[in-house]
Assembly symmetry: none
Homo-oligomer: 222 residues x 2
DNA sequence: AAAGTTATTCAAGAAATATTAAACAATTTG
DNA sequence: CAAATTGTTTAATATTTCTTGAATAACTTT
């Protein structure tokens, strides 16, 4: 979940960034609409947008984004000090997903961001992943082998899911880290190894299908 | 659900149209009662009608509609800046289904439209939810286990209902917050835990079916 | 065999959840 | 309406579970 915060109050930006990153979001900041428009906006999943800014207003920026196919679908939460109904209505009319008046509590912002994020993420379609008698139920976050439930931790689950969604392909440790641990968390190569070792044991007899390709990485080979 | 919005403030119309369409309603707009009366009004399921308009007032238009057999049954929600009691009574006396004073929040309008729409459409069928001897009566807001009434608070009831409507699926705490507490109320992750703990105890021996999936959330597993 | 790479083990500690209790809020009762 | 009851939230603490990375052993490759 990548979030772009656009606000000319730098202190406020920092506070938002810090707290949202704490919540596990990936946050970047721009201090003006102009700066923001130079960024790769399409790569964000949510925009927190101040309405009152120096040059270009948040409204103006929003309406630009709504006109571009690449960005029109991105949810926007407006931040504003103004509380006139008019502003509010204008905000909604150009497709704001939510609206928060300053001063606001960080909790409130985090909760709203979560709400939008939950609403936005399409309900996972029940794609079935598996190999022979090893079946993954993504909704249940469960793995069964020969009908027997195998207890996996989150990391292990994410790993086996990644491998089965990429059968017959060697994934580098960096690939694996990025997908399983995300961009925020940094672990060593050895940590990947350890987790794969644990996974291999737990999913016996399928452990051997996770093969090591020395100097390249790991992959699940049918 | 087709909705006709009649109001001479074009901006407001746009806002209403945008937001109601976002909610999945089919919306068309007229900027005066005269224009509206030229349309095929009988084809709409609900009319949002401004009272104060240039030529013909919303009241006048409503009374015309109420005299026509083809349109007399169509629910009308009046929009108005006036807040005198008299207006309100007059509004209802000619068959308004609801009454919203300007300035209003979009949320409020959407909620009222939904309410009318729900009232109008066939009464929700009494879907039954349950698991083994744990039975939920959604209308009565009651839960029985082995035929014995289990006293649950509102929060607990909403929780068990959510879980049973989503059996065999892990719900994240955010999902749960959004569904049980709504988008307006902000509670902490720990609050979710505490409420689930209470619920588990109360619905013994079914408590254990609400499983914890560390790092993912909770789910009711058959 | 040397160098490079991966596997294994394990203790420290990090992270997540459960539990408890206290404070606050809402509702009901007298 | 005040008091009593019931319900809810949150902080604090306890407990459980999971993860990491160092150390070292075991492979692989050249």
């Amino acid at each position: 979940m990548k979030i772009l915060v656009v606000d000319d109050e730098k202190d406020l930006c920092e506070i938002l960034q810090f707290n949202l990153e704490n919540e596990g979001f990936d946050v970047e900041v721009a201090h003006s609409a102009e700066d923001a428009l130079e960024m790769d906006i399409a790569s964000y999943n949510l925009i927190l947008l101040d309405i009152m800014m120096g040059q270009m207003s948040g409204f103006k920026m929003a309406s630009i984004l709504k006109k571009d196919n690449a960005t029109k679908h991105i949810p926007i939460i407006f931040l504003t000090a103004r509380d006139k109904e008019n502003d509010m209505l204008t905000g909604f009319s150009i497709g704001a997903d939510d609206y928060i008046s300053k001063p606001f509590s960080i909790k409130e912002v985090v909760a709203r961001v979560r709400a939008v994020s939950a609403r936005t993420n399409a309900p996972a379609l029940n794609e079935t992943v598996g190999f022979k008698s090893l079946l993954i139920d993504i909704e249940k976050k469960e793995v069964k082998i020969e009908g027997e439930y195998v207890k996996l931790t989150k990391t292990e689950f994410e790993l086996i899911l990644l491998f089965l969604q990429n059968k017959n392909r060697i994934l580098s440790r960096s690939d694996i880290m990025q997908k399983v641990w995300g961009d925020e968390v940094f672990v060593t190569d050895r940590t990947v190894d350890v987790n794969i070792a644990r996974l291999r044991k737990k999913i016996a007899p399928y452990g051997k299908f996770i093969v090591t390709k020395q100097s390249y990485g790991y992959g699940f080979m049918e």
